[in-house]
Symmetry: C5
Subunit: 377 residues, 5 copies
């Protein structure tokens, strides 16, 4: 039972906490200023690149950075913010890049459902005075301490700028930073939306090792259950099904995000990016597909586990019944000849004792034969 | 068992009562007048506001209020009616604001399904002589005495007026009343449909704490069941699933309401409102999504609970079988030597008694070994 | 068990009987004449009305009625036929109002699925020489002897005439007949399609008390099952689920009927009627919605009932195991000292008997302690 | 058990056998000629009719028939082929009526999914040099030896000709042949597509008696299960659910066939036929609907049966527990006084024996009282 | 149990392994060159054909082949590559036929989801400088060592060329190679897309024998379970359901592939091919349909198996209860008269012993009668 309790301990449910129902939606300049920064280090990294050059800086003084212009040679500027605690910084970026108050709110109030909001003119854009921006909310999935953890990543895509905001430091983008450093890589020749695609692709591809680990657990459970698993299996199956459900819940909306990016034209989305998003789309489909297959296997396994419990119960009951059925009648017989009646004719026979044993063995043998015929032995 | 009964007691099913099948639909001026007012206090509050000024009044004499005009500076007038018992008042408002008889009937015959009915000219409006109005039915959800209770809120949106009718006093809109009091808030600069959005947003956001409480109960049940819960868990799981079902049933139609408001143009809906409704839409999606995740977890938990019952049964049966199987054969043996046959050779042996005990211990030990091998111990 | 049998007795399945597969579809003039009238009284009622006047007649001589013209002042003529046994009458009406042979067949071969067939010119109308008619098949639901019974009502809507055919006398339209009698009622000012709406509305509203009775039964079962129901509950849950399924099966196609009437324009459908059908549409949605909620509750209840059986089994097994486990070892001990061996040292001890009892009590107490620890007591 | 085995015996699964994966699709003139005719009598019947005349012939010499022209007065020629074994005949018809090779292949390689393929010019027709033809594959369902059997019927509809191919002699079209014989019947006045409709209608209507028989079996099972069925019920429920599934699988594609015929215009489909197909459409909907209702009932019945097994188990366990619990303690007591200790004080009391009995009765009575309280008696 | 373990052993889950999340998508000329060729023989076969001639070659020197031109008379050139290990060869083909980098990546990174990607100009084609190509990913299913194995086949369709890449040597296309060898076969008269159709048709038709084998296993399991199967059935049912799920997962996307090829026009797709794809479409529908029917049967069988376990448990319990209930009371009685009380009046009666037996037989007979009435015997 201890194993079960250990498995059960520390299961966390997904939660959404809203602090102030009834408050105004959207965070404009003034409201942002009023929010207190909480403790926690915020790291801002800026990478400017063009096919020929690349410059990566870590920014300490955000105000000065915001006041400056980008280098003239830069075709794309990627600003990555790790940590959502420094309101000053977020306000500075929101000011400089004219981010929509609703988007800024979604950026801060994690978790949001993955989604694409288009701002600026265009068929699907919201009318208004804000410049053309694509606001994308994505989820970066990781398995931390055996549980699925998701981190919200917010993207603001402009014509030449990509802003990314992460909840915590640490991400899956180091290979991309390396590719940006390689001169002549295709990535350096493309626009900001292509960088968005590359980053999303890395996030999506990171789900494959997670699925891999679920596959391992499922395979182990399968062989355990089919070989007659103990009671720890129950909690493990429950937990695996629960996590596959969570996984699906996190991945599904990402499919919508990619589809929206592919289908709805926006002036910040390049044609090449759209072509390559097909690839991400295929990957998410594969992930969802395999995840669903695992979920159905796990569901079937739960049924099979229940059956295996019944089978084991049957086995136990048969042993009990066989033993009881064999010994109870002959125990009665022994009891009969233990009675203190004065006139029990058999008691005085010389052969009584061996005959008694013979009868007992015959009875027991008959019972065993009967059970054999019923297929219980 | 008492715990179970206590849990079961007082479960209420959702009901819809129709008093007069076959009666005419729609309540026009005369029919409204004929309806008797029932007892119950009705509170009418009127808030007039423009970017510069705000005036909040509680109305006692409805007839005089209806006869008066609104202040000239007022850009939006929000009339909130708490309680549906005063037919005079409702008739007065229906007269003044030319509410459609069908809408008035829906307002009074609670509960209705949340919906949007558009009146007046327009692509989705009903043709007729009634002025342009949006009639919105929403549900305000609260957990009262541990059960989900829903209250119907009816909105009539005009160009410069918003009427809201609540079944009972007490609502979730106090933060909004405070925001109306703050000069310079965005809310004061917008039109009546924006107020509708803000009120709906508050209603929707209020579902998050409800989900929170379901999450707490689910988490508690999860750890109980995985650790081997007692029989009270059965009723608690049933009750939680039941409430999550009710919750979904109440929230789903709200999604339709928001979608209809977003998509179908109406002369009373402002463009800014439409932009901001995207936010409410996202919130409802999150709520439904999380609610469904909880429902699926609860369903899996019910299965796991059934398995845990079988596991416990198996355990009980094993104990019974082990004890019986060990003692029944040796009890028989003891019975044999208790027989009063005259010729039992063993009875006269000097070592009979210790040999008997040795045989018993051997038999019992053999059985234990067998059970060990079967994995029962 | 008798209770169960009583519950099971008399369950009727819905059936559809076709007498003559392979025969021609549609009943034209001649075929109708060839059908023999079966016994059974047929009652024909005609109500002519205009805003100022109303005239209600019961028709005995159908031939004469058919030959006559309607009163000149009449704006709508409602002919209601109770009973489908008099082929002469049906042929007379089919002749006079030029009803399509396929519609006449559907009218006679009950039960049909609720549907709307449009005849005459128009986008959804069948081309042909028949005049513009809407043929509507609806179901009137009632609970008779505790079982859901449905009666087919066929409507033929013309420009100024509404024909209704019922299988049996007795309907839910008396309040409407009363409203037709009230001068100045809105109903009198409208056209024939509005009368159709009013009659359909009455039929639909009559489902609410049926749902009410299901709610009562479900609530009773819920508290029974949660308090540990007996075996009669099994049959009752089965029966309730079965009836909720039947209910859904009957109500769903009615939703299609109303939607078709609302959406597809036909020259016999008035604009006002279309507006008011929104109301019926809302009611059916509410009915289906609540019925589905009840169905899901009943399904959850069935699962919970199964769990409660396992719980009860567990309880019974525990009692058996506790008693057996306590007494079997000490019974063996008593058997040992009942053996007739000549050399049982303990038998001659003075304190043997009290020591024996002490050992028995110790063993029993130890077992009880063990069970307490396992949580079985 | 024998009953169960008998029920299980002879269950056939639906199978599709493909002989030569990788071979060319479509059977043209030459390939048909190369196929060997298998044994089996083929019967070809030709009915020519116009409103005034009808001529029914059985054809022996297919070559001569094919070479001849139809009678001049004939408006429709219905050629029915029973049996697919004579390749010569099929080749002759394929030649004369220019049937498409793909259609000829589908005709021979039974079973195909019911479908409509349009050949010739037209919106949904395949381009090519083949004349306008509708190729319809339908399934004729019958219950043979208690199992659902389906026979593929292939129709080729031309302007004035209808070819039907059946797998085996024997069909459900005798009433139609009789109607063709009646002068003045509507059927004689219509074109070839109307004959198609009449034949499909007969096939569809023949599903009603099959549903009827399922209804009978379901009703019988319902009352058995609710009254506490034996183990034969398990196999019967399984078999019924299996057959309802098969039934659904066969009927569903027929709905598609009818819908395609109704919706997609083709030069061989008459307007009147389209009108009358509405009738067949309604019938299939009714059949599918009722079949699904039966399936859901059967599923609920399976659950209820499982519950009934648990209930029965509970009952058995209670008897065992009651008997054991009453007798085990007093058996121990009897054992105690059967011990051969020299110093058992009670053994010498005069009233010991009656007191012993009194104690036994008290103990047993107490147990019974306890069980009464627990509700086990 | 050994049988079960053997069944469980070696179950493989479908897996997708991604080596380098975050790396660039698409493999262009340079990246291909950088990939190391792994060991493994690659076999390249080229078949050129026109209606009159056919030439089949096995290519050893790929560079020379690529540099050469095809024979002038050739209308279609089919290049088949078995094995994906020789990067040189793949680079050579990618160069010569200007394959898109994304397609080349999908070709190498197996497994991909079956899909159609259109390159070149056209409504569904990706814009770009690449020539018109259809890239089709399909799955060839086989049962290897009792488990479903799938091999990815990639097709590149040009105007006059078809490239196919297989993971391993060995395929299902030998009949097609033979048909290509037959002069006058339809296949030789058609274009490259028709060859694509013929190859896909062979792949799809190869699923029928797989379904056939599932049908055999299901039929065997059905009769076993209905006759009361042992515990090996549990693992077998689980395994069959698992494989039917996998089968469905592999076949479904193939339906999409065929539908896309049928519906979306592309300059490389011929009209005749589109006509004949209808045939493949029908076959996949049949396969999916039958697979789903088998899945539902297997699910029903799992339920029935669970019921059969309960039935068997009931049977075992009944035997136990009957034996126990008959013997326990009379064993007690024997115990009573084994007591060593000095005053047991019955002990001295002459008829005591036969009366005791009579009472025992009466008690046992009474019990048996009771069980008979309860229907336990």
């Amino acid at each position: 039972m201890r194993a079960v309790v250990r498995i059960a301990a520390g299961l966390r449910l997904p939660r959404i906490r809203k602090d102030r129902p009834g408050s105004a939606a959207g965070l404009d300049r003034d409201q942002l200023g009023a929010l207190r920064s909480t403790s926690g280090v915020v790291k801002v990294t800026v990478i400017n690149y063009c096919p020929d050059r690349v410059l990566s800086q870590e920014i300490d003084d955000i105000k000065r950075f915001v006041a400056d212009h980008r280098p003239e040679w830069s075709t794309v500027c990627w600003i990555n913010v790790d940590g959502l605690t420094d309101m000053e910084a977020i306000r500075a970026f929101a000011d400089k890049y004219e981010l929509h108050p609703l988007a800024v709110e979604d950026l801060l109030h994690v978790p949001q459902r993955p989604k694409v909001d288009a701002y600026g003119e265009g068929p699907s854009g919201l009318p208004g005075t804000h410049p053309a921006r694509l606001f994308v909310v994505a989820k970066m999935l990781q398995v931390i301490e055996g549980q699925l953890a998701s981190e919200q990543i917010s993207f603001f895509v402009g014509h030449k700028t990509l802003l990314t905001f992460q909840e915590r430091p640490g991400d899956v983008w180091d290979p991309i930073r390396r590719r940006l450093g390689q001169s002549g890589s295709q990535l350096r020749r493309q626009d900001a939306s292509f960088l968005l695609y590359v980053l999303l692709d890395a996030i999506v591809d990171h789900c494959f090792p997670i699925l891999e680990s679920y596959g391992d657990r499922l395979e182990k459970l399968e062989s355990e259950v089919l070989a007659g698993a103990g009671q720890a299996a129950m909690a493990q199956i429950y937990r695996l099904r629960r996590e596959l459900l969570l996984f699906r819940r996190e991945v599904w909306p990402m499919l919508d995000v990619i589809r929206t990016l592919q289908r709805e034209p926006h002036e910040c989305m390049g044609d090449t990016t759209r072509t390559y998003l097909r690839d991400v789309h295929d990957h998410i489909l594969q992930i969802i597909d395999l995840g669903d297959t695992y979920r159905e296997f796990a569901a079937g396994l739960a049924d099979t586990y229940t059956s295996s419990l019944s089978i084991r119960m049957n086995e136990v009951m048969k042993v009990l019944t066989i033993i009881t059925t064999i010994f109870i009648p002959i125990t009665f017989l022994a009891g009969v000849y233990g009675m203190n009646f004065h006139h029990i004719p058999e008691a005085n026979w010389v052969w009584a004792y061996p005959v008694f044993w013979a009868v007992c063995l015959l009875l027991a043998g008959g019972m065993l034969l009967l059970f054999k015929r019923k297929g219980w032995l």
